[in-house]
Symmetry: C3
Subunit: 435 residues, 3 copies
């Protein structure tokens, strides 16, 4: 590693403003109120639960108590990139040296965090210090979006309730409540989707999104078949595996129809296996499946050729499939590095593949997936460091590679700017950002 | 990266002559007539179609117009290794600086290319400058091979028409036309294969080859079952999935029987999913499947233990399976880095695996897959650079590794020569090459 | 590569004593009697059989003749890490320079090996020079364990005979012989397992272990269903695929019940496809399947939440699944780098993943899988070198990484000590080791 070059590149990339195209931030609060809330992030509860088992039970409703319980266990995960995220928050945002993080000091840290984070301008300070200019959200269709600042937040519609959950009578009733009449026909279903899109577009919708089970199959489904399935649901008859698969394919097509109609992208996050771990903490029970092919999306990508599909994959084994899809498909855009693949080893490999064979206007570099604004800075820094490393290697390669032109620092920064700013802005149609 | 060492190694490897064991070169022409023909290579049409969609439609029958359409889009793929291939052709073969490649200059580039490439000795010049000594071809069974220069070209029989397409009456009729009588029995089918092999062997046959769908299953099939399937075809009854699978397994065995009889290798290219992308350009519609195991080939490799199987895989997820197969199976030979895996990230990983655990007399380093002779030089250079990098790292490792002997520059060059020359020559039985 | 730093780190790691948590060593002999026995290790027979085919036949009952046959072929695998293991044995243990390894010298090497290895203290010398302090074994349930030195060897119960083979009447009879009465009910089966565990625990049992076929499915099985399956077996009726799957799931649960009862870990080795290669040497006929998910173990891990599962995977494609499992599951522990994944490329990737996201008290660094004590040293050195490399890179990264604290040499050595000593000792409950 050419450390001087990597650091120089990193520093130049680090000053670029952050457009974060996928988070779980609560727009009404944005930041956390204390370190206990930050420690409630599933990475810390799941890793400490894994390192020192306590039945997945944590006092989530008492942040101070949660801090008391978790903080002494953090030493068991001090090697992890997730611990490093926390330390960057501590040092950069909370002005607290990482040497302060020892078990006996938990109450001092908690109290200090309350002091700092309860400042009235805490949210603005985090945003300013992190240089965040746009944050995409994850929203349920019935989320309250009134008062959301469209110039900073872009609400994104989570579509699992529409695509996966409608066969559940409770979920169907909830959707009917939103629509204003029960969901009894596929027309009702489509009307509900339209009403949802209307609402989201009015609030500056970013895109529709879905985290999708491994081995999902998109497919053509006739309206008459969907009608029969809806009638089965209404009659209270259970759907079998084939029925469910058909309904889900139909519902996904309805969402894609709406994306087309409203001119919005459909952001796919492919490959999760939910509820795999029984003793896990909340949000810490899901894994993924290495046996998963993107062939299940051929129908969707082909049929909705005029819809943009930014796509993230959970399994390393789908990484080259995503790269190849973005290489030849005009409407598939690799987007970030998701969850279990969001660590240096797999970021490094996928980044290099995308840099080498995907047109440079097509990759969205990174998203944080953060639950609080505080996590955006350290997570982006993790990515930006891997990016600096990859670009430094490309610069060095270009000096001796028989096919390459000289790849300069300026070229490297141009690539970084595309991945971090130009491409997300263009692909997702973000307005109003200047840098 | 030890740049000086890598470059020194590359330069020494680069002077080695090229034996290219898999191409799609047209032996009657060899080279292209102008830059438009080079730009019709699917990498350029598919990547620009992906970067700036235009429905997969390009003016393929008008090379000048194709140049006008594609050349301005090339800037969108300037980051790709495929763009770098083109630039090496431009600078090394066309004597045209890469700075000349800007949109407004498209007609100058086209005209210049016609000037240079229409020279009567263009083909010989490309061959001499690239130092190509042998080129394997991809041929249909009914290709005209009369006049082919066996000392330079080795025709290779593409067997999809035999193994996959015979159930199609049009394809079956075509095969019957070649045989001189309709294909109505499995004896007819075997006779056709024999006649094809006779023809190819007379023209210096390299090997039989097949690009194989993901999850293909080889298997034992009784003659009586094949007879029943053939009768079904002749009667015009459709074959179901199991029928098709059985027929394909039978037909592959027939081809392997012929390989055995004629002493020719069977080159497998495993894992393609054809026609996945509807809006793609010609040859730009295929992808691959990460869910694919080489277990489907156990029957073939075991039964035809006396046939050599050079094997390439399309998916990164099959890379270690191929390495492990070559490690223990005497008749499986890793061959090159194919298509979507033919880029630096995946070449680097597979190359290191093969160098570390496959006997050094068993790996065929690289093939270009080129459609025109012009592409052989830049593609081999891409590989040779990754090879130089891997060998330089091995040299450096050996200085401090507790188990390794000193791995010298001479040792490195010996490995390179085996991968690039000795192994393909020995494994494929190539005659008449001196270097 | 910072060669000086890597070597300095390696040297400091190399002096750490070896706890080897999985081998196939025969405790009654431990070491080999001559070089022929070392060459009978399947790596040498399979690699030379692959490089220079001779039908998988070797004179295994005549070590001198085996040496004569294999030694001249070793030059064909001189590039492999397996050859390097042999050279380290030669130079470090046999005091024989690697330059002596040429074909004509085979009898001198053989004779020299007999001289050295027949010394009465050869075993102690190998142990002392390799600094081995504990060796886990692989034992059949009916192995003679009388006289085994519990302070050095930990017998581990291989459970394939219990989980996979009971439907075979011969195997069932053998198990009944061990129990002292025929296996005719599931109570008999459970009693046999108990008797086996009693025996092993009395001899310092390490753990129960199983090398598991690709795509094995763990599951809940009702006793009444198992009873029906047992009755089918006793009646001599064949079990179909579903029956077999149910029986195997039931039997695995019985073994896990015993692990729970006796407080012993269950070491899983996931993903082998046995008997794939017909012309292979003994132990050289198995491959693996890249299509294999750890989802098949969800039931086992969840139900036996109080049993520890050290886990190794054979396929590279399962590597990130294992990392993710260890990241969130409290009772899954990544263990070493197995067989086809036990080479530098795949060790390097998995090591980095585990270092970055698995709590540092959860990974078992390495096991040798050795058949003779002589192989432990070179195999551990191969791993320790990759570890030194990864730790050196982490040190260098930490100097410029925006999220990381300085990662010092001491930090690096602490990580190494955990992987190599603290974690195996703690996770496997090894007693009596001081270092």
């Amino acid at each position: 590693m050419n450390q001087a070059l990597v650091r120089e590149l990193f520093d130049l990339i680090d000053v670029m403003p952050i457009v974060d195209v996928h988070t779980h931030v609560n727009w009404k609060t944005g930041t956390a109120a204390n370190i206990g809330e930050l420690l409630s992030y599933h990475y810390y509860t799941e890793l400490t639960n894994s390192a020192d088992f306590q039945g997945g039970e944590f006092p989530f409703d008492d942040p101070k108590e949660l801090t008391r319980v978790i903080l002494p266990k953090l030493d068991l995960i001090r090697n992890t990139v997730q611990y490093d995220w926390l330390m960057t928050i501590s040092e950069e945002l909370l002005n607290l040296d990482r040497a302060a993080w020892y078990a006996e000091n938990w109450d001092m840290i908690y109290d200090h965090s309350v002091d700092v984070m309860s400042a009235p301008d805490w949210r603005e300070e985090v945003i300013a210090q992190s240089n965040i200019v746009r944050v995409f959200l994850t929203n349920q269709y019935d989320d309250d979006l009134e008062g959301l600042d469209k110039s900073f937040y872009s609400p994104c519609l989570r579509t699992e309730p529409l695509i996966l959950w409608v066969p559940d009578p409770i979920e169907r009733k909830k959707l009917g409540d939103f629509l204003g009449r029960p969901i009894r026909t596929i027309e009702d279903f489509r009307a509900a989707i339209d009403k949802i899109f209307d609402k989201f577009v009015a609030h500056g919708m970013g895109y529709a999104a879905m985290s999708i089970p491994a081995n999902f199959q998109t497919d053509h489904v006739l309206d008459e078949d969907a009608v029969a399935l809806m009638e089965k649901m209404i009659a209270g008859n259970p759907l079998d595996f084939q029925d469910l698969r058909a309904w889900q394919a139909f519902a996904m097509n309805c969402v894609a129809d709406a994306c087309r109609k409203y001119g919005k992208p459909f952001h796919l996050m492919i490959g999760v296996d939910r509820d795999a771990y029984n003793q896990g903490v909340p949000s810490g029970t899901d894994l993924f499946n290495s046996v998963n092919s993107m062939r299940g999306y051929d129908y969707l990508f082909n049929t909705y050729w005029d819809v943009r599909f930014p796509t993230a994959v959970l399994s390393d084994t789908t990484g080259l499939e995503l790269t190849a899809s973005a290489w030849i498909r005009h409407n598939v855009y690799p987007s970030g590095h998701w969850w279990y693949s969001n660590q240096p080893t797999d970021i490094a490999r996928e980044l290099r593949r995308r840099l080498d064979v995907v047109p440079h206007n097509k990759s969205i570099g990174y998203f944080s997936d953060a639950y609080y604004l505080e996590f955006i800075l350290p997570k982006f820094r993790m990515y930006k460091f891997e990016l600096a490393l990859a670009l430094a290697e490309r610069m060095e390669r270009s000096l001796v590679h028989p096919n390459m032109a000289l790849f300069t620092m300026d070229d490297a920064l141009e690539v970084a700017e595309e991945l971090l700013l130009d491409n997300p802005i263009t692909i997702l149609g973000i307005e109003g950002i200047e840098f």
